[in-house]
Symmetry: C2
Subunit: 347 residues, 2 copies
C-alpha cells in the first residue's frame, strides 16, 4: 500500500517522528481511526503500539512500552484514538506522563488540548518535551474571498461521516502521482494531518473562517497541478453540514467524488436520520458547489465495501455504475473499476 | 419603535448598562450597525455617543464624553462600530483607557477581544473595571444532536449579509408578543446580543459546534411558544454559507422569512458574486432545512426598501407578492403588508 510515497506539499518534518501509537483502553475499533490510518498510510513512521489494561483494539504493530519505543528510535507517542466528546480520560494522564519521562514528545488530535492538562504541561516543561496538538488551527486565518484560484482541485464528499473520504483522497492523490500528475493530498482532519505532516484541522476553525481556511489549504498552483482535498462531514449531517459546505465553497473543486458505504442506512450516531441516496448528494453538492466553481462536476463514486464479499461488492458497484452512468469503485480494492474512476477524475 | 418592550428570554442584566456608544473615527455608516441597532432597539439603555476626531457618522444621540456619561449614569462604553477585519485600531486604545479611567466598563463585539489588548487589561485590572466581549461564545457547547424540540421556531434568512435579518426578527418577535403569543427574540450576533442582553455569537463558535450552538440557543419550549431567531450570512455567501447552514439545521425552523434588499445586485464586498433570486433562496433553504424539520415552510419575504420612495416600495412589494404567491413586507414600514406577513408566520 505504501510502495509509492504519498504526495504531500510539506514534508512531515514538522512533527516529531517516528511514532509510538497509543490506543488507551478502548474496546471499539471505530474509535481508533487515527491509529489505523497511520499504520496504513505512514507505516515507515510507526514503530509500534502501546495500550492500557482492558484495551481490546490493536493495529497489529509490535507492542512496545514508551521506554522500549524510545530505545528503538521513536521521538513521539501519538494518541491514536478518539473518545466520544473528544476528551482525554483522567486515568490516561499518568501513562502520558510516563511517555514524557521516557523521552517521547506527545502528539494529540482530539478537541481537548494536551497543553490544557496541567500535569502534562508541568512534566513537559520540566523535561523540555513538546506537546503537539494537531487539531489547533493556525492563527490568522482569513475570511474567504471567493476568488478563483489557478490549478485543479478535487474534493471528496460523503453520504455520512467515517466511511472513506480520507482514504479515497489518499488513494486518488497517490494514483494521480503514479500517472505522472503533480498532486498534493490536502488534509483537513487530525489523522490526515498526522499522515501527511501538514494540513488544517477544519472542524477546529471558528465558523466565520472555515471557508477561508479551505482557501488557504489549497492555494494557487500550476495549471496542471491537482490538490486532492480530504472531505469532512456530509451535506446531510445534522451537526456537521455547515463544515462540509464551508469546505465545498472554499475548496471550489473542479471535481467531486462522492463516498458511500453500501448497507449503511442510518447516520452514524444519529439513528433518526436516514443516509441520503448518493444521487441526492451529487445533486446537492453540484448545486451548492457551483456558487464558487461553475465548472464543478462529479467524476464518480467511491464505495467502502469492506463488509462485503469480493464478488458481491463487484456486482453491486457494476450495477450502481450502470444505474448512475458514473464510475463506481472501492479504492481499497483497486482494480479496473478504480482505474476508470481515476480516468474520470483526470478527464 | 420601542413602545412595546422587546420580548427576550433573559433580561439584559448580564451586561453593565446604560451605555455610552463609541463610534471611533469611522466615516462609513455601514460600519456602525451595532450603534444604530442599539439606538433603534434599546434607546432606554443608550445615554449618548462619543466619537474621535475625523468621525463622520452619528446616531443622533447626545454627544457625551466618558466623564459626562458616567455622571449621567452610564455604566459601560460600547464599541458600537465594526472595522474591516474586526480589529481594534491601536489609536483607539488611549480613548478606551480614558473611558475605563472615567469609571465605565467596556463592551465590545468585534472578533478582536478587548481582553487581548494589554493596556486595556492592565487599566481594567488596576481599576476593577470589566472588559466584556460579547463575541466570545459560551464554553462547553455541544455537537448538535438533531433531536426535534418542542415549541415553534422562526428563522430569518437572507439573499446576502447586512440587509435586515436582525431587524426583521426583532420586528416579528415584537409583533408576535403584541398579538399575545409567547415569543423570544434569539440573538446570534453581537448587536442582537447587546440589544437583547442574551444570545450566542454564532460566527465565533468553532465550526463543529455551530449547529449545536443553534440548538442550545432555542431550547425546548411550550407548544405555542415562538423563538424568533436572528439569521446570519446567506446560503449563497462564498464565505459564510457554512455558518448559515449550521444555523438552519440547528434551529430546525418551522417557518422561515427570507430577507432581501431590492436593487442590490452584487454580494456586499464580493462584486464577482450575483445576489440570488429570492425564490432560489426559498427553494434551497426549504430543501436543506427539511433535513432537521420536514415541516419547514416559507411564510413570506421581508424587503429592505429604505432606499426607495414609499409608493415605489409599495408597488414593488405588491408585484413581488403577486408573482411569488407570498406576503412581501418591509417591517420598518409596517402597515397592512406587514400584518399579512405576521398572519402567515402564525398561521
Amino acid at each position: 500500500m505504501t510502495d509509492t510515497p504519498l504526495p504531500v506539499a510539506t514534508p512531515a518534518t514538522a512533527l516529531p517522528q517516528p511514532y509510538l501509537l497509543f490506543l488507551g483502553d478502548i474496546t471499539e475499533p471505530a474509535y481508533a481511526k487515527t491509529a489505523f490510518g497511520l499504520r496504513d498510510w505512514a507505516p515507515e513512521r510507526c514503530l509500534g503500539e502501546f495500550v492500557l489494561p482492558g484495551a481490546r483494539v490493536s493495529t497489529g504493530l509490535p507492542l512496545l512500552t514508551p521506554v522500549q519505543a524510545k530505545a528503538a528510535g521513536a521521538r513521539a507517542m501519538v494518541i491514536g484514538v478518539a473518545t466520544p466528546g473528544g476528551r482525554i480520560p483522567p486515568d490516561w494522564v499518568p501513562t502520558l506522563c510516563e511517555a514524557l519521562e521516557a523521552g517521547l514528545d506527545l502528539v494529540g488530535g482530539m478537541h481537548a488540548r494536551l497543553a490544557a492538562i496541567a500535569p502534562l504541561r508541568e512534566v513537559a516543561a520540566r523535561l523540555g518535551r513538546r506537546l503537539v496538538d494537531v487539531r489547533e488551527p493556525p492563527a490568522g486565518l482569513p475570511v474567504a474571498s471567493g476568488r478563483r484560484r489557478a490549478g485543479k482541485r478535487l474534493l471528496t464528499l460523503g453520504t455520512d461521516c467515517a466511511l472513506g473520504k480520507k482514504y479515497t483522497a489518499l488513494k486518488l492523490a497517490r494514483a494521480f502521482a503514479e500517472r505522472g500528475h503533480a498532486a498534493d493530498f490536502r488534509a483537513t482532519g487530525q489523522t490526515g494531518i498526522l499522515i501527511s505532516g501538514a494540513g488544517i484541522p477544519l472542524d477546529g476553525v471558528v465558523a466565520d473562517f472555515a471557508a477561508g481556511a479551505a482557501e488557504v489549504l489549497s492555494p494557487d498552483a500550476a495549471p496542471g497541478h491537482w490538490d486532492v482535498i480530504e472531505g469532512q462531514g456530509s451535506l446531510f449531517h445534522p451537526a456537521y453540514a455547515g463544515v462540509t459546505l464551508a469546505l465545498l465553497h472554499g475548496s471550489q473543486p473542479d471535481v467531486i467524488v462522492v463516498c458511500h458505504e453500501p448497507g449503511r442506512t442510518r447516520m452514524l450516531g444519529y439513528p433518526d436520520f436516514e443516509i441520503p441516496a448518493v444521487e441526492e448528494v451529487i445533486d446537492l453538492a453540484i448545486r451548492l458547489g457551483r456558487r464558487t466553481n461553475p465548472g464543478i462536476r462529479c467524476a464518480g463514486l467511491s464505495f467502502n465495501t469492506g463488509a462485503l464479499p469480493a464478488e458481491e461488492a463487484r456486482r453491486l458497484m457494476a450495477a450502481e455504475s450502470q444505474r448512475l452512468g458514473l464510475p463506481v469503485a472501492d479504492p481499497m480494492r483497486g482494480g479496473a473499476a478504480f482505474e476508470r474512476l481515476v480516468d474520470a477524475c483526470l478527464r
